[in-house]
Amino acid sequence: MGLQEDLVKMMFIVMLNEDPKPYINDIKEILRLFDVLDSYKDLFEKSKPLYHPLETMGLPRADKPVDSGIDIASITKYLYDGYISMPPIKGIKRLGHEKG
């Protein structure tokens, strides 16, 4: 389960007051489901990967940018010099301030 632990860190998810035992059993069950495809290895090998059902990959959106009419500044909690600012994070000093 070494890789699993690495992935948990990489995906920024940790166990919080949860019993890890059923979790590990669930993960083993999912891996068993994944491993079903081992028996199809030769059958699938000749096929090209299909990322999308209608194979419409990499198309740009057909619309043109328009003003949404939404006043972003009015619904944004943190602004700095007219720009949206990163919210404050405990222990880190940042530019920006909370409105009003």
Binding site: L3, Q4, L7, V8, M10, M11, F12, I13, V14, M15, L16, E18, Y23, D26, I27, E29, I30, L31, L33, F34, V36, L37, D38, Y40, K41, L43, F44, E45, S47, K48, P49, L50, Y51, H52, P53, L54, T56, L59, P60, R61, A62, D63, S68, I70, I75, M86, P87, I89, K90, G91, I92
Partner: protein, 477 residues
């Protein structure tokens, strides 16, 4: 009291039923936890008064992963529990433009990850036929709202999330051809698999709503457009103008598999065979053939869905919107936010999706699943060159009791529904009655862009194979 398709009524009659429609929705919420947000009667009434268009007088509950401006858009997750959408999804814009009103947002599995309606941060939805059983998911609330003497609702279908709860609650559930309805405003879980879908009591209402919300949206680059779209709309219009299916039963040639039916519980198997016999007696041509592509589809589906989920849900970091936990450093904040904000099923899928696509494992899992996906697509569409539809059960078993199907042990329930999500084909779940006082459904999968044919097939079965007026609310009447 159900009086026939809402779409066939004139506006005055619909308005007379408005209060009744609303009352049913409130009841479905009070008794089965079908809604996350339900609007007040006064607000709804004002909207209806001011509305104009073909959908006037129709209340359309919407799954809580579809954006409706000014309403909570939680995806049934703690991480978005106070997020209010600043915009309308494309389909919602069309509904509003055409006079429809959204009365509320329905309960669902968290981020649509689940097939029982139990993983919601706001508590499980209950099945109106038996409150100790699940209504199916992930679009659990929308299905229950229609089953409880409602008419239409919107959900989303990633691996059966419309068709399964439709079957478990005795209503119709459509997953349209991929690209029919804009996904703009549908919060992504696995974007190459999911489509907005429709629940309805009557096939005519389904055709009517689909016709009005399938307009092209340039903001969704995966929508199909041009001749095929026009053709689907004109065939839907034909159905709406004739008011009935207006076709013969014997024009349909349907493939099914006895071998796959053996995998179902005996009661389900018997009910599906009963439906097959009935279709044959109506003049449909049914053929037992080998549908070997169904077997590996569940594994292919879960690998692809989890990989896409791990990518799509990376945006919930506490940085831009939704829940933010207090952490020491920036990275601690992100980790705590995600750990507190996501429920167990979402965490499982994110971690396993990252695993299946990580270096050293992607060849064995993700890449193999993508190759398998093409294999399944080619196999299914080869069958559909010779047949109009493929018929499968929706679920191998009847609605599980609460708690029985949460997590990986419940994945098997998706065995028959995931195929059209992998391939993009349209599929419709049709109720075939009650067994042990619980609903059972069949699923028909059609060729690309054959959505109108699926609907008229359901029209043929209406009142013959299933009773659209059958409702848990009026049992025994």
């Amino acid at each position: 009291m159900i009086r026939g398709p809402l779409a066939l009524m004139d506006v005055e009659d619909r308005l007379k039923l408005l209060k009744e429609q609303y009352k049913m929705l409130v009841e479905s919420n009070n008794m089965f936890n079908a809604f996350i947000t339900i609007r007040s009667w006064d607000d709804i009434y004002v909207d209806v008064e001011e509305s104009h268009g073909p959908l006037k007088g129709i209340l359309i509950p919407v799954k809580d992963n579809i954006a409706v401006k000014g309403l909570l858009n939680t995806c049934a997750s703690k991480i978005l529990s106070d997020y209010i959408s600043p915009y309308d999804a494309h389909v919602i814009g069309l509904i509003k433009d055409k006079g429809g009103v959204v009365p509320g947002k329905t309960n669902m599995d968290e981020f649509a990850m689940g097939n029982s309606g139990e993983t919601s941060y706001f508590g499980p939805t209950l099945n109106p036929w038996d409150r100790e059983r699940v209504p199916g998911g992930s679009s659990s609330g929308s299905a229950v709202a229609v089953a409880w003497d409602g008419y239409v609702a919107l959900g989303s279908d990633t691996g059966g999330s419309v068709r399964l709860p439709a079957a478990y609650t005795h209503v119709l559930g459509l997953k349209p051809t991929y690209g029919t309805l804009s996904r703009f405003g549908l919060i992504s879980y696995a974007d190459s698999l999911e489509q907005i879908g429709i629940f309805s009591r009557y096939a005519y209402d389904m055709a009517y709503l689909l016709y009005h919300i399938m307009e092209y949206d340039p903001r969704d680059m995966t929508m199909y457009y041009g001749g095929k779209r026009d053709d689907v709309r004109s065939r839907l219009k034909l159905i709406l103008e004739s008011g009935e299916a207006a076709f013969n039963h014997n024009e349909f040639k349907v493939a099914y598999s006895k071998k796959l039916l053996e995998l179902c519980d005996p009661d389900i198997k018997e009910a599906v065979y009963g439906a097959v016999d009935k279709l044959e007696s109506l003049g449909c041509e049914l053929h037992d053939i080998d549908l070997d592509f169904v077997d590996p589809s569940l594994s292919i589906y879960y690998i692809i869905a989890m990989v896409e989920a791990s990518s799509n849900l990376a945006r919930y970091s506490g940085e831009n919107y939704g829940l933010r936990a207090d952490g020491g450093s920036y990275w601690d904040m992100v980790q705590l936010t995600r750990s507190r904000g996501f429920g167990p099923e979402v965490k499982r899928r994110i971690i396993m999706g990252a695993y299946a696509s990580s270096k050293g494992y992607e060849g064995r899992y993700y890449l193999r699943a993508l190759k398998g996906r093409r294999w399944v697509k080619e196999k299914l569409n080869k069958v559909l060159r010779n047949y109009d539809f493929v018929l499968l059960p929706v679920s191998p078993r009847q609605p599980p009791r609460l708690g029985e199907a949460v997590g990986p042990k419940g994945y098997i329930i998706d065995k028959f529904t995931v195929v059209p999500n992998l391939t993009g084909n349209p599929a419709l779940s049709i109720p075939i009655g009650l067994v042990n006082n619980l609903p059972v459904g069949i699923q028909i999968i059609g060729k690309y862009y054959s959505d109108p044919d699926l609907i008229r097939f359901a029209m043929l079965l209406e009142d013959v194979v299933y009773d659209p007026k059958l409702s848990p609310r009026r049992r025994g009447e």
